[in-house]
């Protein structure tokens, strides 16, 4: 394994770790969400009527395992291609 191949391998692993870390930070969702539920401030009258807090959908991209695995697969393919291209060719 030459230096370029080592850098390719290391970069691939780092990118994959970033992708999985991002997925973990965004809530370990199985599927990518386009909207998330956000609790809205409760009015006094609703409290008096015994109503629990209400939730609203807001547009928010939350990365899921589906997109994370797709990104990981793309990283593996690109790394494999580069790894092959950077192979040291022996002179005939």
């Amino acid at each position: 394994m030459n230096k370029k191949q080592k850098i390719t391998l290391l970069s691939g692993v780092v990118f994959m770790l970033f992708a999985f870390a991002d997925w973990a930070v965004q809530g370990f969702h199985l599927f990518t969400h386009e909207r998330i539920l956000v609790q809205i401030p409760q009015s006094d009258i609703n409290k008096m009527l015994g109503q629990p807090p209400r939730y609203n959908w807001v547009n928010h991209f939350a990365l899921g395992l589906d997109y994370t695995l797709s990104a990981a697969a793309v990283i593996i393919i690109i790394s494999a291609i580069l790894f092959f291209l950077f192979k040291t060719r022996k002179a005939i």
Binding site: F31, I36, S43, I45, N46, L49, Q51
Partner: protein, 213 residues
């Protein structure tokens, strides 16, 4: 001994009358009807499915319906129906919402409404002057199937005042209820049921109704 045995049914009868005839303290008399139709869609129904793989939280803000009861005797007079439109269910993922409406799930085209009809009240507990906790038996209709479901609900009554007017005109009633249903009881049986979507769904209903509609 025989005298005591004879009196037991009478004591039980009086006890049940006392428990079930608890009402909300109000100047109102006779039967009153409250509507939950809400143009601003402030009323909300929530549902949650939890499996080892995924948690799905969903809502519907298209809640409507009416309940009516006599203030002095809620237990034997409470009647009503609460509905939501099937197409109003949202889960935060457009593709999943679309799937939910299809025939393999809730079939919104064929069964456009999900409803709960109150059949009877089995217990009433007074929490405060304007708040009651009720154990209700009713018929839940989903996917064209009916099933009797017990529901524990809390009813809070507020007479019209300057504060209630900010929300809606009229006397207001707040209803909070939680219950569980099993999808297979309603003919919803899908390949991924139990893995990505739970069979047992927790439902929460938080709605406010007015007597001026």
């Amino acid at each position: 001994m025989l005298k005591i045995a004879v009196n037991i049914p009478c004591i039980l009868f009086l006890f049940s009358i006392t428990i079930l005839s608890q009402g909300l303290e109000s100047n109102a008399s006779g039967t009153k009807t409250f509507s939950f139709y809400d143009k601003q869609q402030k009323n909300q129904m929530t549902f949650t499915s939890i499996t080892a793989l995924d948690e799905v939280d969903g809502t519907s803000n298209d809640v409507s319906g009416q309940i009516s009861f006599d203030f002095n005797n809620i237990a034997s007079t409470l009647k009503g129906k609460i509905s939501i439109t099937t197409s109003s269910l949202r889960t935060g993922i457009d593709k999943r919402d679309k799937d939910l409406m299809e025939s393999k799930w809730l079939d919104a085209g064929k069964y456009p409404v999900i409803s709960y009809i109150i059949d009877s009240v089995t217990a009433v507990k007074k929490i405060s002057e304007n708040k009651l906790e009720l154990d209700v038996i009713g018929t839940f209709n989903l996917h064209g199937e009916n099933k009797e479901i017990p529901v524990q609900a809390t009813i809070t009554y507020l007479k019209e005042n300057s504060m209630t007017e900010k929300r809606e005109p009229g006397d207001l009633i707040g209803v909070s209820a939680n219950f569980k249903i099993a999808l297979t009881d309603f003919g919803v049986d899908n390949m991924i049921l139990g893995t990505r979507v739970a069979n047992n769904i927790s439902i929460g209903v938080n709605i406010v109704g007015t007597d001026k509609f």
